[in-house]
């Protein structure tokens, strides 16, 4: 009795499984037909390159904003040091004493705090877009078709394993396992469906990113000149602080000249100049500082506008991806490389001003 019942259960289960296989075959055929008629093609590598370029541009903008916020946060301290050290230029004792007294503890400028707040908001928007581009790259790299096929293969293996086990039951009718041909065909179709779905997601994300890109560009370009002015002025503040330390004798001119000689003659060690020639060495170091400042100022004046221009250029590439046109990522990558060089120049200037 018990044996008869268990045989009936096994048959029922097998019938259901056979129905599932038939349904799967039908679905596969239908899906294949649907896939062929509504195929969405996206070059995943190109999409990933576009996303990477977006990450790099937004990172460049964020780096500039971060540097500006940090400098603004330090300004009060810088002014306290600079405004006092610059008193070394006053020769008369009573005038110098008055200079030092007048330079004591500058108060926090409320406008500086306001600027920090504004720049932080701008940076937050840029960082959010950067994260969106990062997610876009992940989406483009993800191989949905392969993942779905692998999952289906596991499921086929499980089904065949079940069929094999079920056929061993007493009284069961042997059911042929899913053939390798059906596995391959069905897996291919499922892969196509998954790819198609993923491509549609990439295109939808591409459209959203383009909208976000355009919005950020509009916002940042409206304040582009003001932002460039702030970046330039902060660089002037940095240079004024450094110059005051240099004039006060806190910074050794030999330290400034060492990297210059090292580039021409690696491994060279510079000697301390004689007392009589210190003014000459100091003048040479001053020339290096002036040239470095010019290079940095040139980099600042061009880099922010270039960042925005590259961001804007990305929007056009988003449109091309949406239209299945070939993208010109190489040009954008070149622009990003130039941006990185400019930012590196500014960063090295900041480092040299604080560490030399």
């Amino acid at each position: 009795m018990l044996k008869t019942m268990s045989t009936a259960v096994a048959r029922t289960t097998l019938d259901r499984r056979a129905g599932t296989i038939l349904a799967l075959r039908s679905a596969a055929a239908a899906a294949l037909l649907g896939t062929v008629t509504a195929c969405v093609t996206v070059d995943h590598n190109t999409a990933a390159s576009l996303g990477t370029a977006g990450m790099q541009v937004t990172q460049a903008l964020s780096t500039q904003a971060t540097g500006a916020v940090q400098t603004l946060g330090n300004l009060n301290q810088w002014w306290g040091v600079h405004d006092t050290l610059v008193c070394v230029n006053v020769s008369k004792a009573d005038a110098k004493k008055a200079c030092i007294a007048g330079a004591a503890s500058p108060s926090q400028d409320p406008s500086v705090k306001l600027l920090i707040d504004v720049l932080n908001k701008s940076k937050q928007a840029t960082d959010t877009l950067n994260q969106a581009y990062s997610a876009f790259v992940d989406l483009a790299h993800y191989n949905a078709g392969q993942e779905a096929t692998a999952a289906l293969k596991t499921s086929f293996t499980d089904i065949n394993s079940f069929l094999s086990a079920a056929s061993a039951l007493p009284g069961a009718v042997a059911v042929a396992p899913i053939s390798a041909t059906i596995e391959k065909a069905t897996a291919g179709v499922v892969g196509l469906i998954a790819d198609n779905k993923q491509n549609a997601q990439i295109l939808a994300a591409n459209k959203d990113l383009q909208s976000a890109n355009d919005a950020l560009y509009d916002g940042l370009s409206a304040e582009s000149k003001a932002m460039t002015s702030i970046l330039m002025t902060l660089q002037q503040e940095r240079q004024a602080l450094y110059q005051s330390g240099f004039d006060a004798g806190l910074i050794n001119p030999t330290d400034i000249l060492t990297p210059v000689f090292a580039e021409a003659y690696p491994g060279l060690r510079l000697q301390t100049p004689t007392v009589e020639d210190r003014d000459v060495v100091k003048a040479a170091a001053q020339n290096v500082l002036t040239l470095q400042d010019k290079q940095t100022n040139a980099a600042i004046s061009s880099s922010y506008a270039a960042s925005l221009s590259t961001l804007h250029a990305l929007s056009a590439q988003h449109q091309k991806l949406a239209n299945s046109q070939s993208l010109n990522i190489g040009q954008i990558q070149t622009e990003v490389s130039n941006l990185k060089a400019d930012i590196s120049q500014m960063s090295s200037s900041a480092t040299s001003s604080t560490k030399k």
């Binding site: 405004d83 400028d109 000149k225």
Partner: protein, 112 residues
């Protein structure tokens, strides 16, 4: 007609000029009063610039144009005075004019 960016640029020039020339100006200052005048000039130009940058100077009006022209002229006068090596007293008068013009420009732009 000047743009908000033009106006910010003039105010920036006034501050950067005062900041970069402060060592030389202080070197000429031989009394506590002259030193205080140089320091006050830099402090006022600094405050005006950061206020202008924060305000972003978004609008223009006829009054702004007059203030803009005054600020430009004052800055040119300071530069001419420096190159002519005028006495510290004369220079301080022109520095003060330039900084005041920058402050007026900021006020006019904010009110517009």
């Amino acid at each position: 007609m000047s743009s908000a960016d033009d106006r910010l640029s003039v105010i920036q020039d006034i501050y950067v000029d005062a900041l970069n020339n402060e060592p030389q100006d202080l070197a000429q200052a031989t009394t506590p009063a002259l030193v205080a005048a140089v320091q006050a000039n830099v402090a006022n130009a600094r405050s005006t610039y950061y206020s202008a940058a924060a305000a972003a100077l978004t609008s223009a009006a006829p009054g702004v144009e007059t203030a803009y022209a005054s600020a430009q002229a004052a800055l040119a006068a300071v530069k001419a005075a420096r190159s002519a090596s005028e006495s510290i007293a004369t220079l301080l008068g022109k520095l003060n004019t330039a900084t005041s013009a920058g402050t007026s420009l900021l006020g006019a732009a904010k009110a517009a």
